[in-house]
């Protein structure tokens, strides 16, 4: 019981194959504990299974073997809709609804949850302020009238609107320019500290991982090859860690 309380999310020997188990293993024998609070970064190359791991948490995928527990219950036991409404989800390009205004996008999950209108309106305002978008100026705009960075902020506001304990982020800052990216990363750090959510963050950028993570999990071809605090990560002796470290170009000084 204490384990279930400590670990908000838990993977137990999870494997996953596409097409209902007919294809090759994308995730192979992953066991992982995600404690409450903090930012766990899933790092890996394209195709290493990072996104799949994320989708196993909110029931977009179900394990072919093993089980994933969220708040002590397996994702199969959860009603998928209930589970997902308690987990914020932010993806690259934000996936905002183009036919909704910014306010309507942010109001989505509270609306699905049947909150009263005044409460939703207040929450939308609060969320937009939280991500640094002046509600008076942006609430009634459509996503196409925003910059990439602004869309990404709306994506975060939408994910946080119903105050979920868990936030899943799939390369949320992958599609914006480097300057905006650095800005969003700084704001994200401040936000993460303030909100005390449990965040699982997918990236292929080691620099981003070192900056944002309280723990880094490195994936290689569907397996976990390193699981360390950011300050220890570069000392892990594994070829894939070295490969990532080489991409940093500052390895000498970091070791």
């Amino acid at each position: 019981m204490t384990i279930a309380q400590q670990n908000l999310i838990e993977f137990r020997d999870v494997s996953w194959r596409a097409n209902g188990g007919a294809s090759a293993e994308i995730i192979a024998g992953v066991s992982l504990e995600v404690p409450r609070g903090g930012t766990l970064v899933l790092l890996g190359r394209s195709g290493s299974g990072k996104t799949t791991l994320l989708k196993l948490i909110n029931g977009m995928h179900w394990p072919s073997q093993g089980e994933v527990r969220v708040e002590g219950r397996t994702t199969r036991e959860w009603d998928a809709t209930r589970l997902r409404r308690g987990i914020g989800y932010v993806i690259q390009e934000a996936g905002l609804f183009p036919h909704f205004t910014v306010a309507e996008n942010v109001a989505l999950v509270p609306g699905l949850e049947g909150w009263p209108n005044e409460k939703i309106a207040a929450r939308v305002k609060e969320m937009l302020e939280l991500v640094g978008l002046e509600p008076g100026e942006y609430a009634q705009r459509r996503p196409r009238e925003l910059s990439g960075g602004q869309r990404q902020r709306v994506g975060v506001a939408r994910a946080l609107a119903a105050d979920p304990p868990i936030l899943l982020m799939d390369e949320p800052f992958g599609a914006v320019d480097p300057v905006t990216r650095a800005e969003l990363q700084r704001e994200f750090q401040a936000l993460a500290r303030r909100l005390a959510k449990t965040i699982v963050f997918v990236t292929h950028d080691l620099r981003e991982a070192l900056l944002l993570a309280s723990r880094i999990v490195l994936l290689e071809r569907g397996r976990i090859v390193a699981n360390a605090r950011p300050e220890d990560f570069l000392r892990v002796q594994h070829p894939e860690v070295l490969a990532f470290a080489a991409s940093l170009d500052v390895r000498g000084s970091a070791v």
């Binding site: 909110n58 977009m60 998928a80 809709t81 209930r82 589970l83 997902r84 409404r85 987990i87 989800y89 993806i91 690259q92 390009e93 934000a94 996936g95 905002l96 609804f97 183009p98 036919h99 989505l108 999950v109 699905l112 196409r144 994506g155 939408r158 899943l168």
Partner: protein
């Protein structure tokens, strides 16, 4: 040409009533085709087997030559016989494919990131269908309605062959009597109707397009 103008002047009330009759045939058939095609298109979004059957059958109707389709329907009880009802059934069957196909395409060709986040937010498939797929696919659905309307306005001229009236009456008479004025009195209003429908529905479609 002077013959044609004097013919128009002499028969304007008949031409007008034939045009109205034509519009009536088209409107009823289109309403029926939309009421069948759009819900059916929504139904087949996530049902592959039903999709193959529905699109297959609608495709068959479309390949039957229109005059033959009218002919086939005449002996069928309840919907058959000579007159408007048979014509409307045939026109509906004819209009079905473009509407059904565009509804399916409009509802399925949605930005995958939008569908993924809708699902991840905890929307049910029904909510995604009505609140995401439908509004985003509406312009494509309407493009199907526009295509179907233009086809139906043309095919409806053949309905006169089974006694359903409309502008085809003039055309068939014109062909039988080798009379150009009669032929044009049917063909020109039908063409104008098609152009008008194309223009109006095209405008509506552009207005509904979400970028």
């Amino acid at each position: 040409m002077t013959g044609f103008w004097s013919f128009l002047a002499a028969h304007q009330s008949e031409i007008l009533s034939a045009t109205l009759e034509h519009v009536e045939l088209v409107c009823i058939a289109m309403a029926a085709a939309i009421l069948i095609g759009v819900p059916l298109g929504m139904l087949i979004v996530r049902r592959a087997k039903l999709r193959a059957i529905a699109l297959g059958i609608a495709g068959i109707f479309q390949t039957v030559p229109s005059l033959a389709l009218f002919g086939f329907l005449i002996p069928i009880p309840f919907i058959g016989g000579i007159g408007k009802r048979t014509a409307i059934v045939a026109l509906t069957l004819y209009a079905l494919l473009p509407i059904l196909r565009n509804t399916y395409v409009g509802l399925t060709e949605i930005d995958p990131a939008v569908l993924e986040s809708a699902e991840a937010m905890g929307m049910t498939q029904t909510q995604i269908l009505f609140r995401v797929r439908f509004p985003l696919g509406l312009a494509v659905i309407l493009a199907g309605v526009r295509t179907a309307t233009i086809i139906t306005i043309g095919v409806a001229t053949i309905a006169a062959a089974i006694g359903a009236g409309g502008l085809g009456t003039f055309i068939f008479r014109g062909v039988a009597l080798v009379n150009d004025s009669l032929l044009l009195a049917g063909a020109i209003p039908a063409a104008l109707l098609a152009v008008l429908a194309d223009f109006l529905l095209g405008r509506l479609e552009r207005r509904l397009r979400v970028t």
